[in-house]
């Protein structure tokens, strides 16, 4: 089960395939330009330290993008599209450290004729089963199956 090819592949409680990305400081600079977010805590080490961080921190929206990719890599845009999502950042994350996403299907439901898939993703700063790892963000997302799939 690496990628969903039809709605019958979906089940409540299903665990999504493992997904891990490690942002680099170069990626943060690229991301700042792509999203037009120039908050110095994402590129100025001295500023970040003065603000109480260990160093520059990842953009919350980059974590959000990666968490959703952990879902779309499995439930691709040809099958379903994101209609609603919410990201909650529990603690700052740093470039050079992994973002490990662990997703679960929480509901399959219908709303006004649309077939919806609810997914919950937890983001950890290491292997979730390692007690030394910490949960750094949670993302809830609702995907609508495209009409030809629904």
């Amino acid at each position: 089960m690496s990628i969903v090819t039809e709605p019958a592949d979906l089940a409540v409680g299903q665990a999504l395939p493992a997904f891990e990305r490690t942002p680099t400081t170069t990626q943060l600079v690229r991301y700042a330009g792509a999203e037009d977010d120039y908050m110095p805590v994402h590129f100025d080490h001295h500023y970040a330290v003065a603000a109480g961080q260990r160093g520059v921190i990842n953009h919350g929206w980059l974590t959000f993008a990666i968490a959703l990719q952990s879902v779309t890599s499995w439930l691709p845009p040809e099958i379903a599209r994101v209609v609603r999502s919410r990201s909650r950042y529990l603690r700052p994350t740093y470039p050079g450290l992994p973002l490990v996403c662990r997703g679960t299907v929480t509901a399959l439901r219908k709303d006004r004729g649309a077939r919806l898939v609810d997914v919950s993703v937890e983001v950890f700063d290491g292997d979730p089963i390692d007690p030394a790892s910490t949960r750094t963000a949670t993302v809830e997302a609702t995907f609508a199956l495209l009409p030809e799939q629904a």
């Binding site: 690229r30 037009d36 805590v41 980059l62 990666i66 990719q69 779309t72 994101v82 209609v83 990201s87």
Partner: protein, 140 residues
């Protein structure tokens, strides 16, 4: 230095304030840069259709709001929400309006923390395209 609570009080009077709408054309190159920057695995997001969180870039200015004498020591994102009503494609002309939607204070371990929520609403030909609620916290 401006106190968090005093600043929150001053800002609260502006909840509901909206900035002027900003019109922009969705650029293929911008979609591609965003997909590259996020490492997006889908070819369609590299120019044709916006990746789901590209809506973070659809911002427009708030109207003038009270500012603290000096910026607070820490300024971070805490929550983001998005609603995508329709796909966004290269070449679309969209209009974004920004509104200050919430201001509140919570007591943290090291003193009061100021939360502000700003909501960006984007339309195309008057039809809703996306809504993004962006919550930040400032303290220290």
């Amino acid at each position: 230095m401006t106190e968090i609570r005093a600043h929150a009080e001053a800002l609260r009077a502006h909840v509901g304030a909206r900035g002027a709408p900003e019109t922009r054309e969705i650029e293929r190159g911008a979609l591609r840069k965003f997909a590259v920057a996020t490492g997006d695995p889908h070819a369609a997001h590299h120019g044709a259709v916006a990746a789901p969180t590209y809506v973070a870039a659809l911002r427009s200015p708030l109207p003038p709001l009270p500012e603290p004498d000096e910026p607070f020591r820490s300024h971070l994102h805490t929550n983001d929400e998005l609603e995508l009503h329709a796909p966004i494609r290269a070449g679309d002309v969209v209009e974004t309006t920004c509104e200050l939607t919430d201001v509140f204070v919570k007591e943290g371990r090291s003193g009061p923390m100021l939360f502000t929520q700003v909501t960006f609403t984007t339309t195309r030909d008057g039809e809703p395209v996306s809504t993004v609620a962006w919550t930040e916290v400032q303290y220290g």
